[in-house]
Symmetry: C2
Subunit: 153 residues, 2 copies
Amino acid sequence: MKDTIDPTESLDRAIGVLRERGERVTTARRGVLAILASTTEHLSAERIYDEVVDRAPDVHRATVYRTLDSLVNVGVVAHVHLPHGPAAYHLLDSGARPHIHLVCRECKSVIDTSADLLDGAAASVLETIGFELDPDHVALTGWCAHCRSEARA
Amino acid sequence: MKDTIDPTESLDRAIGVLRERGERVTTARRGVLAILASTTEHLSAERIYDEVVDRAPDVHRATVYRTLDSLVNVGVVAHVHLPHGPAAYHLLDSGARPHIHLVCRECKSVIDTSADLLDGAAASVLETIGFELDPDHVALTGWCAHCRSEARA
DNA sequence: TTCGATGCAAATAGTTTGCATTCTA
DNA sequence: TAGAATGCAAACTATTTGCATCGAA
């Protein structure tokens, strides 16, 4: 059982999925995926653009947005809409469990927590009003442990 | 026990709070509050601006944004950041319970549900990682009953 | 060789800000 | 009449789109 992720492996896997689906593998797509595979962080489109441009200066910002959109549709990338600021993208690695995003209202950091956190709420809201929760696309807000202890001090 | 809300009463109450806090009661503030008091819907700043301009044509869009911000700080108005589209504002009526917002990914409609929906999740996340959930500021996404049955048909 | 992906420029939505002026308290 | 709130213009952030061109399959 491994608990570290190999960037190269993640990248190859994502590109493999693209090929399986008959999607084209271009410089822009490869670049975006490489950036996403290199971190477990959640990156904004702008941030991804900055990094991709370092390697491939010709890639345009609009292409990054379109690429991200395609990758989300293909299912190798997911995005979360955070309460403030831009959408955050991350690789949907098959090795990684779906997770829920917690955003600290103070330091804006994004914390991943297990997807089953909302299982109870999902069941409840489905039963009472027929609303089907999509926990993977949800961002919750509040205050992280660090900022809470800072506030106390 | 009343289950309808009197717009005039809500408006007067909100304005009362402003005065209590030593906040100024201006045409713009009165206008924004009147719109918010007239509905239980969640309105975007743009929508509020449109409605306010009908009554008070001189009120500027920027003023509506600043006014909403002030009203949020005073505590008579709350806003939620929805996954797509603009922030949604609503009156924080003392008669109204705090509630959680569900957004349908299909029809974009906003559904209120009881705040205690996330009590379990809040307790869990506080205990495990020391994160303090702020359920009033949270928007959850998914598919509403109506769109789910549409999809089936 | 074809059609999807890209580069570029321009537009769009949502929101914020600096500054002079107005108006509430 | 002091200073907070406003009007206006302009900037800003995040994102999208039309169109001609390019390049992966």
